[in-house]
């Protein structure tokens, strides 16, 4: 079958949608289910130990600080600063090939004891991304995707503040 035929393209889209579902979403063991439920509710939720208040990321069954199991979850304000970033030009993830080049940011969250979370930076000003810039999170549901994702934008008020 020719890869350029319209039929092939339709089939390819179907495959991509299925793969996108597979690529992200809650783990089968249920550990990170509250994170994904939080995205649906429009909240960023990370683990926070109910016993010792330690912030934990990525998801763990146990608090590494006090060894409490199932440490619990808490919502955190999705506002932070860029800790590092990379702009991917090569389509390492074929299902995201139509987005390349895209910028992934690692964002430090002051409201969660500076725990860091990843996300794609959206917006026209992604070109000027630098470490230390303020970014604000938002929640996007891609076409064909089952679960929304946390994405980031440069804080438009940043210039006014500094």
């Amino acid at each position: 079958m020719s890869e350029s035929s319209p039929e092939a393209a339709v089939e390819r889209d179907d495959v991509d949608a299925r793969v996108r579902e597979y690529l992200w979403g809650p783990a089968a063991d249920g550990l990170d289910q509250p994170y994904w439920d939080g995205l649906v509710a429009g909240e960023l939720r990370l683990q926070r130990c109910g016993n010792c208040a330690e912030w934990i990321w990525g998801p763990q069954w146990i608090c590494g600080a006090c060894h409490t199991f199932d440490p619990g979850w808490a919502a955190v304000e999705a506002v932070g600063t860029v800790y590092s970033w990379s702009r991917s030009h090569y389509p390492f993830i074929t299902e995201l090939a139509d987005r390349t080049p895209y910028v992934t940011v690692l964002v430090e969250l002051p409201a969660a004891d500076n725990r860091r979370v990843l996300g794609i930076l959206t917006g026209d000003d992604a070109d000027g991304v630098r470490i230390g810039q303020r970014v604000v999170g938002h929640f996007e549901l891609d076409e064909g995707a089952t679960w929304p994702l946390l994405r980031w934008r440069r804080d438009s008020t940043e210039g006014a503040r500094s």
Partner: protein, 394 residues
């Protein structure tokens, strides 16, 4: 506490390095592994039937029972796999063989790694090793994880990007003298490097290692036996390994984010410190270095972690093309061309080059090499180093 010292207990007496362009291996991984082992034994002047230990790493196939049976060995006494991807445990595999010999668990151990695209796919391409908390955000390869860390190394720590370029250009310069290197006959200059396409910033094409088909094997025996076998054996002076900060299980929340994983943390000795302490040596004693460079940035960070180059902006004063070149500089690095310009069989070829420098048989020999350092995959979840020395360094 310590009962058996590793220092000088074991030595590499045989090496083999077979590599082909990716996807063009004439045989599968098992066949190539056996070929490499037989060739390494021939290099050592011994029969493969004498092997009693087998060590590989990072998900390689074919354990000691399979290889021992195929080779008709008398007995398999040691068959180990070092966990950890990204080449981080390539040196730990050598250390593991030395530990087995030092403690009398085995007498003749071969360390091996084979890769054939037909058997195990293309390593760098969307293997989806990473979980959804990486993939959902567009991070699906080691290149991207290392790029995020390297970007901070440059932008925040102030290591000049030219230091990365120098490492790449030195590798290509070395490859011009190595007829079996993939980069042989393909010199690279600053302009060629800078104009190459971006892969994932800050990495250009040339910042990324090759992927080859092939197999590599190194045979280790006790020091006593090595002395009887050959005068140019490469003795293991020290080995160290470690897993800093949790890495993949804590999704880029590890401490010392721009470290390559060998650095000390407050109150904790790092892999590099433990290596130097065990050897009774320091970075100034090293004559030549082979550093695993899946990507240029982590390799630069590894040189900094080991104290071979200063951190921050001053790194650029040491990491220049000339200073990294054998015969010219004080810190010759990746003298066969390395993973970037020679070949990449999960970094195991670098160990062979570290041994060749001790023997004086490198295509870019560093004069009067006594101390040869091999650094395993930097910025991998678990990292390791091995320090080799000549017999007269013991």
């Amino acid at each position: 506490m310590s009962t058996a010292s590793l220092r000088g207990a074991a030595a590499v007496v045989g090496v083999a390095d077979l590599h082909y362009k990716r996807g063009e291996a004439p045989h599968g991984e098992l066949r190539m592994t056996l070929e490499a082992i037989v060739a390494a034994c021939a290099d050592a002047g011994m029969s493969p039937r004498e092997l009693d230990g087998f060590v590989s790493y990072a998900g390689g196939g074919h354990d000691g029972a399979i290889l021992g049976a195929a080779l008709g060995v008398e007995e398999v006494r040691w068959s180990n796999m070092m966990w950890g991807g990204g080449g981080g445990t390539v040196a730990a595999a050598l250390n593991n063989a030395a530990v087995a010999i030092a403690t009398g668990q085995a007498e003749c151990v071969v360390v091996f790694r084979a890769m054939a695209q037909e058997d195990s796919g293309r390593l760098g391409y969307a293997k989806y090793f990473y979980g959804p908390h990486y993939l959902a955000h567009g991070v699906g390869s080691p290149a991207q994880v290392c790029a995020l860390r390297t970007q901070r190394l440059l932008e925040h720590d102030g290591v000049p990007r030219e230091a990365l370029r120098a490492l790449v250009l030195a590798a290509y310069r070395h490859a011009q003298n190595n007829p079996t290197a993939a980069g042989y006959g393909r010199p690279l200059d600053e302009e060629g490097y800078e104009s190459s396409r971006m892969i994932t910033e800050p990495f250009h094409l040339y910042d990324c290692s090759r992927e080859s088909d092939g197999a590599v094997a190194l045979v280790l025996v006790s020091a006593e036996r090595a002395k009887a076998m050959r005068p140019d054996a490469a003795y293991v002076l020290a080995g160290a390994q470690g897993a800093p900060g949790g890495y993949s299980s804590i999704i880029d929340n590890d401490d010392l984010y721009t470290s390559a994983g060998f650095a000390a943390r407050p109150g904790r000795s790092g892999v590099a410190d433990r290596l130097w302490a065990a050897a009774g040596l320091g970075p100034d004693d090293v004559d030549v270095v082979q550093v695993y460079e899946n990507f240029s940035g982590p390799a630069v960070a590894a040189l900094i972690d080991h104290g071979l180059a200063p951190a921050g902006p001053s790194a650029g004063e040491v990491l220049t093309v000339d200073n990294l070149t054998a015969g010219i500089g004080k810190l010759p690095v990746n003298t066969s061309g390395g993973n970037i310009a020679d070949s990449f069989v999960n970094g195991m070829g670098l160990a062979v080059e570290a041994v060749r420098q001790i023997r004086g048989t490198s295509t870019n020999p560093v004069a009067d090499t006594h101390i040869s350092l091999f650094i395993g995959g930097p910025m991998a979840p678990l990292v390791s180093s091995t320090l080799f020395g000549r017999e007269d360094t013991l």
